[in-house]
Every structure is written in structure tokens, then in C-alpha cells.
Amino acid sequence: MAEITLAEAITQALAYEMQADKNVVVFGEDVATNGGVFRTTLGLLQKFGPDRVLDTPLAEGMIGGMAIGMASQGLKPVAEFQFEGFMYPAFDQIVSHASRMRTRTRGRLTCPVVYRAPWGGGIHAPEHHSESNEAYFAHIPGIRVVIPSSPARAYGLLLAAIRDPDPVVFLEPKRIYRMVKQNVPDTGEALPLDQCFVLREGSDITLVTWGAYTVESLQAAEQLAQEGIQTEVIDLATISPIDSATILESVEKTGRLMIVHEAPKNCGVGAEIAALVAEHALTSLVAPIQRVTGFDTMMPYYKLENFYMPSVARIMATAKQLMEYA
């Protein structure tokens, strides 16, 4: 069986679920004829026709809001925003309606929408095409935020997101859309939401990360292992709500926690994880919790982008600092 990229795994999941459930409809800017600017919807128009794969007019507020109406009628809209930085016109719809339809109607109307968007930096793109904005959505009660970090997890988590009875913001790390290939059997098997994935076991440090930063985190863990430091790398995967059990269990074992994310530090999701551990496992800690994140600045234009992105070196240096505490 051919190995596929993360981008292709997205397409495979969409095609599987469209085949299985005729209520699934896919729409957004350039998703039909062009197959999406990252080609994640490639071939769906040909397979499922123009009533289920729609090029919309250029308006994100419309995309976000229309999806809610469709969902109330039992359709399963998978709405694509072309880039994470262009989701904001839909923010009103997501925060004011998608998130609270179930609550407002005491379950009479619900909102099983998936809002997809390519997400994150590191591809030398123009302004607004490199944002790490997961915390904005994670702060909204009633919204799940999911970020896959491999082809297999992209496939399994997207299937789960589409089948989920509530709205999911599904952010796709564009830097690793085509970085690795994996064998991803098209079995239609979903992966669980609201659960972390332990990517590497270790006894010294718990490192929580997500999306493309699983790559640098695993690289750092590998190098640290050569120096005798065993890092447990956890892929958060569902950014909200957080699977605290897996994290707490790990921290109770290691006594040291670091969080690595690309988004700015201030009120980033790392802060939530740190607070959870402080609340529930403070006495297990032997060292202060550390966050390795983007700086509290705008994402720079691409010439200075690398200064912004947390480096493997910074992850390693922070890990070594943690090991100074016994």
C-alpha cells in the first residue's frame, strides 16, 4: 500500500467519510475545481459532484455562518478556510453561534461542523499565512480544537472530528503537510478525540507539544537521549478540551514539565497546561515548569521568521536547565 503525506491523509479521510455518509458536504474557497490551495480536497469534486463539493464566494463570515445553518438541518459540513489567518471574519459565527447552539436550545439544535484550516508558520509565506492562533479558539467553551501531527493522526482525527456531534476547529500544520509519508490504511477507523498521544516514553522530562513542533521536539528528545536525558514526548492533539490525565500521569513519573509551542507565550495553550499541572501535580514537580514558545510578537515576515520560531537548541537548553533540579 502506498505511503501518503499528511495532506493526502486529509483527502483520504474526507473521501472516506463522504462515501460513508451522504450528509457530509465540503466547501470553501478554491476547494472544488482547484482541490484547495494545498490540494487537500483534490479529486473530491470529481468523485462526489458539485452539490457536495462547493467553491464558495470569497467570504469567510459566510462560510462560517452557513455551515451552522446546514448543520442544524442534519448535514455534516466540513468548511475550509484557506489559511488560519483568514478565519477571523468567521470568528463571530464560531464564538457566538457554533459554540453555543446546543446550550442555547438545550440540545434541540446542534452544530456538528468541522472548520478546517492550514495553520502555523515556517513555510516562508506572505503576511497572515503563518499564524498559530489555536489559543483563540481553545478559549471558546463548546468548541473542540484539534491539531494532528502525522498522516495517520490526521486521518483518524479528522474522521473523528466529522463524526463528532459538536463543532470542531481542525487546524492542519502546513509546515508538515508533505514532510513525511506514512502507510495509512483507508479503514475508516477514527482515533479518539480528547486524548493525547505519547510519541516517545521517557522518565526524566515530560514535554508536551502539538502540530509541527512534534518534529523538533522528537529531534531534541533523540539528542537528549544521547546525553542520557530521557524525555517523554506527548502530542496534545486535542488542544481543547485537554486530556489532563495523560499529562498528569507523565508528570507524576518525571517530575519535570516543559511545553513547546509555536504560538506566542502570553496566554498560549502552554499556560493552560502549566496551570493544570500546578493545580493537580505541583507536589510531583522537582523543577519549575518551562515553556518554549514563540515570542510575544507578530509573526515576522519571512526574512526574520527563523528568529521567531523556537529552535531545537532552545528546546534542548531548556531541558538541560530542568535537569539541574534533582
Binding site: 475545481t33 509565506a125 510578537t297 515576515y301 526574512k303 528568529f307
Partner: protein, 356 residues
């Protein structure tokens, strides 16, 4: 039943695709020197675009949006503005920005991923390129309100693609502009495409110009490949706004003869035949033909112009390439006027990582 409102949309053209005059020229166009200036500007834009696309292919430039085929829209609107007016451009406005006094080097720097390319040395009050589509329409309204509030005879001009007119921000802007009678002009570069989405599935409206009607303002359509028409009609709209007679939407009908940007591959969705036909209507050929027939242009002048513009561009590219890179701390130092205490610590980390 009775009809209570009726509207019509006028289409303006002076120079047809054969380079023939189809109606009496506006005064400025009787001045060959002015037309040659417009021609020069369009050529400058075309050469810049061609070079930037090549530079992107060889890794010397970021993603770049060529304006091939649409030079008359940008040049015409830029020329219609006065220096004291304010422009709120979108990303395909390099031709207009050059008219405004933004330099080739600044434009190259911006698309080369350097924020200093948005720190224009000449049009200090013009906005930087807006990438989030249609958002700039509302900025132009705000600028126009400030002019009106201070009773300054100045005009805000903004532009966007026809795809952008599907955004809420566009409709909000024309509604406000109409309601408050703002001195603002919206120029629509209707190049028939929004990436892969053609004009006919973007809106069911017969023209883009008629969207103005909903805001209670005037909407007109011009041949966007006729720089005389663009200059004249945008010019009229700008002067109308300046004299307190309100906003206008000008739809310039043209064709995108390149990929959407260097990140796009239009062959995936283009009809080559249609593009070929569109190429025959592009704006430079027809003006060159007209000027040649008028005895105001010839091959020798064309060659001289290309040489001169190429030298200018080569120099700009050198200046762009030789520009010292920004220090790492620049990613932080413009976040606030004064760096807050909380960021000072991060600045130390940044400097520690990058200077030693």
C-alpha cells in the same frame, strides 16, 4: 404595482482593443506626454512583475502576485490621485503604489519578506498592502471620515479584486460611505478570477459596479485595459469625492494574464483559448498602437524606454539585494512604542540566541 426605483450602469471606453478611439478623448489624453507617462508606468510595472516572478523561481523573492494584464487599472488609478490623497492598496497594486511614489526597492523588499518595504519614504500616509481581503475598504472609509471631519479637500482611494467584493467588509464599507457621504473611491480590479474561482461563480450580479447601488452610491464600469478610461473615470470619481459629492465604485474590467501568485498554477483551471483571446486585449499593445499612429511613438523610443526601465529595475534589485538584513531584535522592537517590561526578558533570550 409601480416601479419605484430604477438603475443603470454605464460602461466607459475611449481606446478599444485595436487602439482606435471610440469617443472624444478627455482633455488630459490629448497631451501625448501624459499618455507616454502612463505607458511608461505600465511598462515599469510589467517589467517589475516579470522580474519578480523570475526572482521567486530562483529563491530570491517570496510569493509574488504579478499584475500582468492589469497594469492599466493600477497605473490609471494611481495617476488619478493627488499626492495629498491617501491610498489603501491591496496586494496587486504595485503599479498604483509606484505612481504614489513607493519605490521599486520597497516593493521588492516587502514581497521579499522584509517589513521595511512597508515603511514608504514618500507616501507617508498611505497604508501598507492589505492581504486579508477587503479589510482595507473600511480603512479607506475611516481615512475619508478624518478628511471630512477636518474639512480637508482630500480623498481616500482603495482597491480590491472582484472576488473581494463578496466579503462583508466591502458591503459594510459601501454602505457607510454612502450613508456618511464620504470622500472615498473604491476601485475594483475585475480580473475575472479569484485564484481558481471565476467571476461567474463569485456573484450572480450582472456587474460588480451595481453593488454600489445597494450602498446608495454611484457605480460605473470601465474598460480596465484602457488606461485612458481608467484614468478619466477614476479621476472624475476622485474629484467628485473631493468636492463633497460622495463616493463611487469603479469596476475596471480586465483579465489576469498570469497565475494568481507564484504559489498558484493557473493551468489547472484555465481555458487556454480564453486566455489567448484576453492576451490580445491587454492594455499596453493598444496604447502603443495609438501613440504610434499618432506619430508619438516608434520602435526606437520603445527600445530606449525598455533600456532605461531595465536599468532602473536592475539598480533597484541591487539595492534590494545589498540591503543590510534587519537585526533579530526588530521582530520585537516595533510591537509597542516602548517595549513593555514583560518583553524585555524575551528580548534578552532573543539576543542571547542570535548574538553570541
Amino acid at each position: 404595482m409601480k416601479t419605484i426605483a430604477e438603475f443603470s450602469i454605464q460602461f466607459h471606453q475611449y481606446l478599444n482593443e485595436e487602439g482606435q478611439i471610440v469617443q472624444a478623448l478627455p482633455a488630459f489624453a490629448n497631451d501625448h506626454a501624459h499618455l507616454i507617462r502612463l505607458y511608461t508606468s505600465m511598462q515599469r510595472t510589467r517589467l517589475l512583475d516579470a522580474k519578480a516572478v523570475i526572482m521567486q523561481r530562483t529563491g530570491k523573492m517570496g510569493t509574488y502576485p504579478s499584475s500582468l494584464g492589469q497594469e492599466a487599472v493600477a497605473t490609471g488609478l494611481g495617476d488619478a490621485m493627488k499626492p495629498e490623497d491617501v491610498f489603501c492598496p491591496y496586494y496587486r497594486d504595485q503599479g498604483a503604489m509606484l505612481e504614489r511614489g513607493v519605490t521599486l526597492t520597497e516593493i521588492l523588499s516587502y514581497w521579499g519578506g522584509d517589513e521595511r518595504g512597508a515603511d514608504f519614504q514618500v507616501p507617508r500616509e498611505d497604508f501598507p498592502v492589505s492581504v486579508p481581503i477587503a479589510t482595507q475598504c473600511l480603512h479607506a472609509c475611516g481615512v475619508a471620515y478624518a478628511f471630512k471631519y477636518r474639512k480637508q479637500p482630500r480623498v481616500a482611494v482603495t482597491s480590491l479584486g472582484e472576488g473581494g467584493t463578496s466579503e462583508g467588509a466591502f458591503y459594510e464599507a459601501i454602505n457607510l460611505a454612502g450613508m456618511w457621504n464620504l470622500p472615498v473611491v473604491f476601485v475594483i480590479n475585475n480580473n475575472q478570477w479569484a485564484i481558481s474561482v471565476p467571476r461567474n461563480i463569485q456573484t450572480h450580479a450582472q456587474t460588480i459596479a451595481q453593488k454600489a447601488i445597494a450602498g446608495g452610491i454611484e457605480g460605473v464600469q470601465v474598460d480596465g485595459n484602457d488606461v485612458i478610461a481608467v484614468r478619466e473615470i477614476v479621476g472624475r470619481a476622485v474629484e467628485k469625492a473631493r468636492s463633497g459629492n460622495g463616493p463611487t465604485v469603479v469596476e475596471a474590467v480586465t483579465y489576469r494574464l498570469s497565475d494568481h501568485t507564484t504559489a498558484d498554477d493557473a493551468k489547472r483551471y484555465w481555458n487556454e483559448e480564453v486566455v489567448k483571446t484576453a492576451f490580445a486585449k491587454e492594455p499596453l499593445i493598444r496604447l502603443r498602437r495609438y501613440l504610434t499612429e499618432q506619430g508619438a511613438w516608434n520602435d526606437e523610443k520603445e527600445k530606449q524606454l525598455i533600456d532605461q526601465l531595465s536599468q532602473e529595475l536592475d539598480q533597484a534589485i541591487k539595492d534590494y539585494a545589498n540591503k543590510a538584513s534587519q537585526p533579530a531584535e526588530n521582530i520585537m522592537d516595533f510591537t509597542f512604542k516602548e517595549l513593555p517590561e514583560a518583553l524585555l526578558h524575551q528580548r534578552e533570550i532573543l539576543l542571547g540566541e542570535n548574538h553570541g
